[in-house]
Symmetry: C2
């Protein structure tokens, strides 16, 4: 089955997701991760690697035990379309959604263009 990046519904939802320090920390952690992609039988690109929720949890909180707090924040990031989470056996693995990051770069880039006409 294809891994489809969720549609980027609302920019403010995305920014709100990044507006929490814990979530931003998770986001940056995932950005630093390598992103080996594999071609599935049907030709779809599948994200097969990335830290598990437990590993993210450990990296962010330092604790061994999985935190419902991290699960909550991962969900927010996922609903905002910033990360992809998929099951891999017993674990859920997380990856940043590079398309979303690209879109964000473009977003700010296009806001730097000088306007055609003054608005004021």
């Amino acid at each position: 089955m294809a891994v489809i990046a969720p549609p980027i519904l609302d920019m403010s939802t995305i920014f709100k997701a990044l507006g929490d320090p814990t979530r931003l920390q998770i986001f940056e952690l995932l950005c630093k991760c390598e992103y080996p992609l594999t071609l599935a039988d049907n030709g779809d690109v599948r994200v097969v690697c990335g830290p598990t929720v437990g590993e993210v949890c450990c990296s962010v909180t330092g604790a061994e035990k999985i935190n419902s707090k991290i699960s909550f924040h991962l969900k927010e990031l996922r609903l905002a379309g910033l990360i992809l989470v998929e099951r891999q056996g017993k674990n859920m693995v997380c990856n940043v959604n590079r398309q979303a990051v690209e879109m964000l770069q473009t977003y700010f880039g296009s806001r730097l263009q000088p306007p055609i006409e003054p608005c004021c």
Copy 2:
């Protein structure tokens, strides 16, 4: 001069500021505005134009009367470093802080670079 991304706490403050629909609307409005800069006597670049708080208010809410709500959101944007507000006679005029926008573009651009080593 290099644009250096501030630490996570500052960044999350910026994203939190953009994470409210009203504030994002104001931000985008100001991005669309022309930004004539003037050189002050001492050589400093001064922002001298931009819509007044009342004009922003009118544009966002449609109402004639100035809203304390907009004032509140402008303050949040200003504290996050996203906009510049300065007095011009009886009015306060608003401009987007283009340096901040540049920094944000750089931020997401640098997060798109493939990592040197896998983290997982």
